[in-house]
Symmetry: C2
Subunit: 155 residues, 2 copies
Amino acid sequence: MKESGMLDLLHALQETLAEEIPITRHIGVRVQSYDGERLILQAPLEQNINHKGTAFAGSLNALATLAGWGQLWLILKEQNIRAKIVIQDSSSNYLFPVTGDFTAICYKPDAYEIVRMQQTLRKRGKARIELFTEIYDNHVIAVSFKGRYVVLVHE
Amino acid sequence: MKESGMLDLLHALQETLAEEIPITRHIGVRVQSYDGERLILQAPLEQNINHKGTAFAGSLNALATLAGWGQLWLILKEQNIRAKIVIQDSSSNYLFPVTGDFTAICYKPDAYEIVRMQQTLRKRGKARIELFTEIYDNHVIAVSFKGRYVVLVHE
Protein backbone atom coordinates (compact mmCIF):
# COMPACT_ATOMS: atom_id res chain seq x y z
CA MET A 1 0.00 0.00 0.00
CA LYS A 2 1.22 3.55 -0.78
CA GLU A 3 2.22 5.71 2.14
CA SER A 4 -0.54 8.25 1.46
CA GLY A 5 -3.12 5.43 1.36
CA MET A 6 -1.79 4.15 4.67
CA LEU A 7 -2.04 7.60 6.25
CA ASP A 8 -5.63 7.95 5.05
CA LEU A 9 -6.40 4.58 6.61
CA LEU A 10 -4.87 5.63 9.94
CA HIS A 11 -6.88 8.86 9.92
CA ALA A 12 -9.99 6.84 9.18
CA LEU A 13 -9.21 4.51 12.11
CA GLN A 14 -8.63 7.50 14.42
CA GLU A 15 -11.98 9.01 13.39
CA THR A 16 -13.77 5.68 13.66
CA LEU A 17 -12.57 5.21 17.24
CA ALA A 18 -13.38 8.78 18.30
CA GLU A 19 -16.82 8.81 16.70
CA GLU A 20 -17.98 5.29 17.38
CA ILE A 21 -16.59 4.80 20.90
CA PRO A 22 -16.85 8.23 22.52
CA ILE A 23 -15.11 7.17 25.78
CA THR A 24 -11.88 6.81 23.75
CA ARG A 25 -11.80 10.62 23.59
CA HIS A 26 -11.69 10.79 27.40
CA ILE A 27 -8.96 8.14 27.46
CA GLY A 28 -7.13 10.27 24.86
CA VAL A 29 -6.54 7.40 22.41
CA ARG A 30 -4.36 8.42 19.47
CA VAL A 31 -3.53 6.23 16.48
CA GLN A 32 0.20 6.69 16.08
CA SER A 33 1.45 4.45 13.31
CA TYR A 34 1.13 1.23 11.35
CA ASP A 35 4.02 -0.24 9.41
CA GLY A 36 1.99 -3.05 7.88
CA GLU A 37 2.86 -5.28 10.84
CA ARG A 38 2.56 -3.33 14.06
CA LEU A 39 -0.28 -0.98 14.90
CA ILE A 40 0.70 1.52 17.58
CA LEU A 41 -1.84 3.42 19.68
CA GLN A 42 -1.00 5.94 22.38
CA ALA A 43 -2.67 7.46 25.43
CA PRO A 44 -1.55 10.09 27.92
CA LEU A 45 -0.96 9.25 31.57
CA GLU A 46 -2.71 12.44 32.68
CA GLN A 47 -6.23 11.38 31.68
CA ASN A 48 -5.74 7.83 32.94
CA ILE A 49 -3.88 8.39 36.18
CA ASN A 50 -4.71 6.77 39.49
CA HIS A 51 -3.90 7.65 43.08
CA LYS A 52 -0.53 5.93 42.85
CA GLY A 53 0.50 8.27 40.01
CA THR A 54 0.42 5.38 37.54
CA ALA A 55 -2.01 4.42 34.79
CA PHE A 56 -5.35 2.84 35.76
CA ALA A 57 -5.47 -0.85 34.75
CA GLY A 58 -8.87 -0.31 33.13
CA SER A 59 -7.40 2.30 30.78
CA LEU A 60 -4.46 0.03 29.91
CA ASN A 61 -6.83 -2.82 29.12
CA ALA A 62 -9.03 -0.48 27.06
CA LEU A 63 -6.07 0.69 24.94
CA ALA A 64 -4.92 -2.91 24.39
CA THR A 65 -8.46 -4.01 23.46
CA LEU A 66 -8.64 -1.16 20.92
CA ALA A 67 -5.19 -1.94 19.48
CA GLY A 68 -6.33 -5.50 18.70
CA TRP A 69 -9.62 -4.22 17.31
CA GLY A 70 -7.76 -1.66 15.17
CA GLN A 71 -5.27 -4.23 13.86
CA LEU A 72 -8.16 -6.42 12.70
CA TRP A 73 -9.99 -3.38 11.27
CA LEU A 74 -6.87 -2.60 9.18
CA ILE A 75 -6.46 -6.23 8.02
CA LEU A 76 -10.09 -6.32 6.90
CA LYS A 77 -9.81 -2.93 5.14
CA GLU A 78 -6.67 -4.07 3.31
CA GLN A 79 -8.55 -7.10 2.08
CA ASN A 80 -11.71 -5.18 1.33
CA ILE A 81 -13.83 -7.30 3.65
CA ARG A 82 -16.81 -5.56 5.27
CA ALA A 83 -17.29 -7.15 8.65
CA LYS A 84 -18.16 -6.48 12.27
CA ILE A 85 -15.45 -7.09 14.89
CA VAL A 86 -16.28 -7.98 18.49
CA ILE A 87 -14.06 -9.21 21.28
CA GLN A 88 -14.88 -12.61 22.76
CA ASP A 89 -12.38 -12.89 25.59
CA SER A 90 -9.12 -11.42 26.73
CA SER A 91 -6.46 -11.70 29.37
CA SER A 92 -4.13 -9.01 30.67
CA ASN A 93 -0.94 -9.34 32.67
CA TYR A 94 0.04 -6.17 34.46
CA LEU A 95 3.79 -6.70 34.75
CA PHE A 96 4.95 -3.24 35.81
CA PRO A 97 3.19 -0.02 36.79
CA VAL A 98 2.95 2.50 33.93
CA THR A 99 4.45 5.80 35.01
CA GLY A 100 4.13 7.93 31.87
CA ASP A 101 2.28 8.25 28.58
CA PHE A 102 1.86 4.77 27.18
CA THR A 103 1.91 2.93 23.88
CA ALA A 104 0.04 -0.21 22.83
CA ILE A 105 1.61 -2.26 20.04
CA CYS A 106 -0.56 -4.90 18.41
CA TYR A 107 1.25 -7.39 16.21
CA LYS A 108 -0.20 -8.63 12.95
CA PRO A 109 -0.99 -12.35 13.20
CA ASP A 110 0.95 -14.83 11.06
CA ALA A 111 -0.06 -14.88 7.40
CA TYR A 112 -1.32 -18.43 7.98
CA GLU A 113 -3.75 -17.23 10.66
CA ILE A 114 -5.07 -14.49 8.39
CA VAL A 115 -5.64 -16.90 5.49
CA ARG A 116 -7.40 -19.32 7.86
CA MET A 117 -9.63 -16.46 9.06
CA GLN A 118 -10.49 -15.46 5.48
CA GLN A 119 -11.35 -19.03 4.52
CA THR A 120 -13.55 -19.53 7.58
CA LEU A 121 -15.24 -16.17 6.91
CA ARG A 122 -16.02 -17.20 3.33
CA LYS A 123 -17.35 -20.56 4.44
CA ARG A 124 -19.26 -19.60 7.57
CA GLY A 125 -19.57 -15.79 7.57
CA LYS A 126 -17.87 -15.81 10.99
CA ALA A 127 -14.34 -16.47 12.20
CA ARG A 128 -12.22 -16.14 15.33
CA ILE A 129 -8.67 -14.86 15.59
CA GLU A 130 -6.26 -14.25 18.46
CA LEU A 131 -4.22 -11.05 18.69
CA PHE A 132 -1.34 -10.11 20.95
CA THR A 133 -0.73 -6.62 22.25
CA GLU A 134 1.96 -5.21 24.48
CA ILE A 135 1.85 -1.93 26.35
CA TYR A 136 5.15 -0.15 26.67
CA ASP A 137 6.17 2.43 29.21
CA ASN A 138 9.58 3.80 28.31
CA HIS A 139 10.81 0.76 26.33
CA VAL A 140 9.67 -1.67 29.03
CA ILE A 141 6.78 -4.08 28.46
CA ALA A 142 4.40 -3.11 31.24
CA VAL A 143 1.31 -5.06 30.14
CA SER A 144 0.92 -8.12 27.96
CA PHE A 145 -2.52 -8.70 26.50
CA LYS A 146 -4.10 -11.51 24.52
CA GLY A 147 -7.49 -10.99 22.92
CA ARG A 148 -9.69 -13.35 20.94
CA TYR A 149 -11.89 -11.49 18.47
CA VAL A 150 -14.85 -12.62 16.39
CA VAL A 151 -15.27 -11.28 12.86
CA LEU A 152 -18.78 -11.37 11.38
CA VAL A 153 -19.38 -10.63 7.73
CA HIS A 154 -22.17 -8.12 7.13
CA GLU A 155 -25.15 -9.63 5.41
CA MET B 1 -21.31 -3.57 60.89
CA LYS B 2 -24.18 -1.11 61.46
CA GLU B 3 -26.10 0.03 58.42
CA SER B 4 -25.01 3.65 58.85
CA GLY B 5 -21.36 2.55 59.11
CA MET B 6 -21.81 0.55 55.91
CA LEU B 7 -23.33 3.55 54.08
CA ASP B 8 -20.42 5.75 55.20
CA LEU B 9 -18.03 3.14 53.86
CA LEU B 10 -19.83 3.03 50.48
CA HIS B 11 -19.74 6.83 50.25
CA ALA B 12 -16.04 6.74 51.06
CA LEU B 13 -15.49 4.13 48.31
CA GLN B 14 -17.45 6.24 45.82
CA GLU B 15 -15.36 9.31 46.68
CA THR B 16 -12.12 7.35 46.60
CA LEU B 17 -12.85 6.08 43.09
CA ALA B 18 -13.94 9.49 41.76
CA GLU B 19 -11.02 11.36 43.29
CA GLU B 20 -8.23 8.89 42.83
CA ILE B 21 -9.12 7.52 39.39
CA PRO B 22 -10.61 10.51 37.51
CA ILE B 23 -11.50 8.47 34.37
CA THR B 24 -14.14 6.66 36.48
CA ARG B 25 -16.16 9.92 36.38
CA HIS B 26 -16.26 9.74 32.57
CA ILE B 27 -17.25 6.07 32.75
CA GLY B 28 -19.95 7.14 35.22
CA VAL B 29 -19.06 4.56 37.88
CA ARG B 30 -21.51 4.52 40.78
CA VAL B 31 -21.16 2.43 43.93
CA GLN B 32 -24.62 0.95 44.37
CA SER B 33 -24.61 -1.43 47.34
CA TYR B 34 -22.73 -3.89 49.50
CA ASP B 35 -24.52 -6.49 51.58
CA GLY B 36 -21.38 -7.77 53.26
CA GLU B 37 -20.93 -10.32 50.48
CA ARG B 38 -21.60 -8.71 47.12
CA LEU B 39 -20.32 -5.32 46.08
CA ILE B 40 -22.40 -3.84 43.26
CA LEU B 41 -21.13 -1.06 40.97
CA GLN B 42 -23.08 0.49 38.12
CA ALA B 43 -22.35 2.43 34.95
CA PRO B 44 -24.63 3.95 32.31
CA LEU B 45 -24.64 2.68 28.74
CA GLU B 46 -24.73 6.23 27.37
CA GLN B 47 -21.18 7.16 28.37
CA ASN B 48 -19.77 3.79 27.36
CA ILE B 49 -21.60 3.12 24.14
CA ASN B 50 -20.00 1.90 20.94
CA HIS B 51 -21.07 1.99 17.31
CA LYS B 52 -23.13 -1.17 17.72
CA GLY B 53 -25.24 0.52 20.41
CA THR B 54 -23.75 -1.77 23.07
CA ALA B 55 -21.20 -1.17 25.82
CA PHE B 56 -17.51 -0.89 24.89
CA ALA B 57 -15.56 -3.94 26.16
CA GLY B 58 -12.93 -1.63 27.68
CA SER B 59 -15.56 0.03 29.87
CA LEU B 60 -16.96 -3.36 30.94
CA ASN B 61 -13.48 -4.55 31.89
CA ALA B 62 -12.83 -1.27 33.74
CA LEU B 63 -16.00 -1.62 35.83
CA ALA B 64 -15.18 -5.26 36.64
CA THR B 65 -11.59 -4.35 37.58
CA LEU B 66 -12.92 -1.63 39.91
CA ALA B 67 -15.52 -3.95 41.47
CA GLY B 68 -12.75 -6.38 42.47
CA TRP B 69 -10.60 -3.52 43.70
CA GLY B 70 -13.54 -2.11 45.69
CA GLN B 71 -14.41 -5.49 47.23
CA LEU B 72 -10.82 -5.82 48.48
CA TRP B 73 -10.82 -2.19 49.69
CA LEU B 74 -13.94 -2.96 51.78
CA ILE B 75 -12.47 -6.21 53.18
CA LEU B 76 -9.32 -4.37 54.24
CA LYS B 77 -11.33 -1.48 55.77
CA GLU B 78 -13.49 -3.92 57.74
CA GLN B 79 -10.33 -5.50 59.14
CA ASN B 80 -8.62 -2.20 59.69
CA ILE B 81 -5.66 -3.09 57.47
CA ARG B 82 -3.96 -0.21 55.69
CA ALA B 83 -2.66 -1.55 52.40
CA LYS B 84 -2.19 -0.77 48.74
CA ILE B 85 -4.16 -2.84 46.21
CA VAL B 86 -2.94 -3.44 42.66
CA ILE B 87 -4.17 -5.81 40.00
CA GLN B 88 -1.72 -8.43 38.76
CA ASP B 89 -3.68 -10.13 35.99
CA SER B 90 -7.22 -10.60 34.81
CA SER B 91 -9.30 -12.38 32.25
CA SER B 92 -12.65 -11.33 30.82
CA ASN B 93 -15.19 -13.37 28.91
CA TYR B 94 -17.61 -11.27 26.91
CA LEU B 95 -20.57 -13.65 26.73
CA PHE B 96 -23.32 -11.34 25.46
CA PRO B 97 -23.41 -7.75 24.24
CA VAL B 98 -24.53 -5.28 26.91
CA THR B 99 -27.48 -3.28 25.64
CA GLY B 100 -28.34 -1.06 28.61
CA ASP B 101 -26.97 0.38 31.84
CA PHE B 102 -24.88 -2.32 33.48
CA THR B 103 -24.04 -3.68 36.89
CA ALA B 104 -20.85 -5.36 38.11
CA ILE B 105 -21.21 -7.72 41.06
CA CYS B 106 -18.03 -8.77 42.82
CA TYR B 107 -18.36 -11.67 45.23
CA LYS B 108 -16.55 -11.79 48.56
CA PRO B 109 -13.98 -14.59 48.53
CA ASP B 110 -14.44 -17.57 50.89
CA ALA B 111 -13.61 -16.85 54.52
CA TYR B 112 -10.72 -19.29 54.16
CA GLU B 113 -9.18 -17.22 51.35
CA ILE B 114 -9.48 -14.04 53.40
CA VAL B 115 -7.82 -15.62 56.46
CA ARG B 116 -5.04 -16.96 54.23
CA MET B 117 -4.53 -13.46 52.78
CA GLN B 118 -4.37 -11.91 56.27
CA GLN B 119 -1.83 -14.48 57.45
CA THR B 120 0.37 -14.00 54.40
CA LEU B 121 0.11 -10.22 54.81
CA ARG B 122 1.23 -10.46 58.44
CA LYS B 123 4.10 -12.75 57.53
CA ARG B 124 5.33 -11.16 54.30
CA GLY B 125 3.67 -7.74 54.03
CA LYS B 126 2.28 -8.83 50.66
CA ALA B 127 -0.42 -11.28 49.55
CA ARG B 128 -2.35 -12.29 46.45
CA ILE B 129 -6.05 -13.01 46.17
CA GLU B 130 -8.39 -13.91 43.31
CA LEU B 131 -11.75 -12.22 42.91
CA PHE B 132 -14.67 -13.02 40.65
CA THR B 133 -16.95 -10.42 39.12
CA GLU B 134 -19.94 -10.73 36.84
CA ILE B 135 -21.48 -8.00 34.75
CA TYR B 136 -25.21 -8.17 34.36
CA ASP B 137 -27.34 -6.64 31.68
CA ASN B 138 -31.01 -7.14 32.54
CA HIS B 139 -30.55 -10.23 34.75
CA VAL B 140 -28.29 -11.93 32.21
CA ILE B 141 -24.58 -12.50 32.90
CA ALA B 142 -22.98 -10.64 30.00
CA VAL B 143 -19.35 -10.66 31.17
CA SER B 144 -17.51 -12.95 33.55
CA PHE B 145 -14.27 -11.61 34.98
CA LYS B 146 -11.53 -13.07 37.13
CA GLY B 147 -8.90 -10.79 38.61
CA ARG B 148 -5.84 -11.56 40.71
CA TYR B 149 -4.93 -8.68 43.01
CA VAL B 150 -1.86 -8.00 45.11
CA VAL B 151 -2.23 -6.41 48.51
CA LEU B 152 0.81 -4.60 49.94
CA VAL B 153 0.88 -3.40 53.53
CA HIS B 154 1.99 0.21 53.90
CA GLU B 155 5.33 0.51 55.63
